[in-house]
Assembly symmetry: C2
Homo-oligomer: 314 residues x 2
């Protein structure tokens, strides 16, 4: 095993043009347009991923992509990524380099550079990714107004389908595995939705139920969801069947889809949605509405249902 | 044990005015003067601290102060602090709140706010602190020029003295314990040294030997240190005696003092140093010089000595 400084040199060499200005105490970031937006997210082996499920490179991609998803949810343009990596004593250099390779690819995929990080020894793998971006009009989760529509990008449930298969000891469906190992932060979609007048925006990391509840709480409104309208990933039908629940229910209770949940004003209509889909090459589906009052109500096949949020502590 | 969201609410309530705008996906930071400077640092239980040595509040302070020290070393003014905390399953809410209380105090002590964070479950305690600041003239470690003097703030060796006592199973000297548990990031001193024309600046986190080597490598110069001049903390005399090495050697091989190592032009003389000490109420001692060539040379009592850097991987 190499020492810390040789490892940093190897990582910098491997990252090549995907990194910028490593090796000082701090990263110095050029000022961009608008306000500075920043978020930090830990990915812990055993809590967020297992290395018998995904490899080191995928763990690095997933950690960076999930942090970058927070910038998408703020309608920010990514500028820099920092990764603090905790490495077990027995790990080899090539594993550290592979993990940072995944971080570098996820940053490069959204036009950002790895600008800094930290390397420590610890009991198991962990990577805490901090992302910085610039937003001309940051969209928080606090601005939804009664009368707005509630929409979601992409499809839901595939990431949970992979988890359920792994926990059972099976290999997941390839599309489900890809959703878990290689999530795509919806940066372009976030910017496009802000331009379209989004009043509140967040990414679905705690499950549709949990995040719709956050939206209701932060915006001081009621959210009413029609689960029949939820766009379900085909990859989760089989897993839902095994659990004897509907695919809609399975998808809505899942976590870590990293799609965007967005409130859009009543003027955002079917034509606007079609334009979004064409430009972003991404599904956008109306799944509910914003009302006065508070809390979350969801219905499926005409019946009210209770959704559970996804909480890593439970 | 509470869930993630209740814990975040408790932390936010406890932090009070020391935090700002928690609860969204991202922190939104007002633009300051100069360039954006950012750094991330992990503090891992068992690697960087032990909870039979210091308590949760001290662990939080120390983690944040060591990250803020990187801003001091760039001559940046702190703006925001983010903390990604990993909590063992058996931990209680009050321990998490105490740790974040220490983070909040360290931020408040330098005029910064806690602007975001993350809470995860993991095998042991860890806190990764990301700090953001603004620098009108960031000073890197790459600008030292032959002819410059090499200076250091404060005194060295106390943090190592505490570690040596704990490892032996003893209680450390109170001043040594305070140096380890409650380091003070040298923010004001960093700004003052930049104003005084500092050509290179870094904090001593890897020991004087390790960090002087970094300075030589980054600036493509030779560094010559006179260890007889090194300002040694009185708290390390006893520990040096036990190890049968000189206090200068003990202090220079120690780590995590978080004092500043700075290259200053020849025009920075004794009068300038006295003005610094008076204004910053902090020692500033010339311990060497910058020469042409490369590498680090150190002498003690007329003999050349080899210094070892402090590497958490070893």
């Amino acid at each position: 095993m190499s020492g810390e400084f040789e490892r940093i040199a190897r990582i910098a060499a491997s990252l090549g043009p995907r990194a910028r200005g490593l090796g000082d105490d701090c990263a110095i970031i050029p000022t961009g347009k608008g306000r500075l937006v920043v978020s930090t997210d830990a990915s812990i082996e055993g809590t967020h991923f297992r290395l018998d499920w995904i490899d080191h490179r995928e763990a690095g991609w997933r950690a960076a992509a999930s942090a970058l998803s927070d910038l998408a949810a703020e309608a920010a343009t990514p500028a820099g990524v920092l990764a603090a990596v905790v490495v077990p004593a027995a790990a080899g250099d090539e594993e550290v380099v592979a993990l940072m390779d995944g971080v570098g690819d996820a940053a490069a995929a959204v036009g950002a550079h790895v600008v800094g990080g930290d390397l420590s020894q610890g009991p198991s793998w962990a990577v805490t990714v901090t992302v910085l971006g610039w937003a001309q009009r940051p969209v928080t989760r606090a601005g939804a107004r009664p009368g707005d529509g509630v929409w979601v990008t992409g499809t839901l449930g595939a990431s949970r389908a992979a988890l359920e298969a792994w926990k059972r000891g099976d290999q997941p469906d390839p599309a489900a595995r890809a959703a878990f190992a290689h999530p795509v932060p919806r940066i372009g979609a976030g910017l496009r939705l802000a331009d379209a007048g989004a009043t509140a925006l967040l990414d679905i990391s705690d499950g549709l139920g949990g995040d719709a509840q956050h939206l209701a709480d932060s915006s001081h409104v009621a959210i009413v969801l029609d689960l029949d309208a939820v766009p379900v990933s085909p990859a989760c039908h089989e897993e839902a069947r095994r659990l004897r629940i509907s695919p809609q229910r399975f998808a809505a209770d899942g976590g870590e889809d990293y799609e965007l949940l967005v409130a859009l004003p009543p003027s955002f209509d079917g034509n606007a949605a079609r334009a979004f889909r064409r430009e972003c090459r991404l599904a956008l589906t109306r799944i509910g509405s914003v009302g006065t009052g508070s809390g979350l109500r969801a219905s499926l096949a005409g019946r009210e249902v209770r959704l559970s949020g996804y909480d890593h502590f439970r």
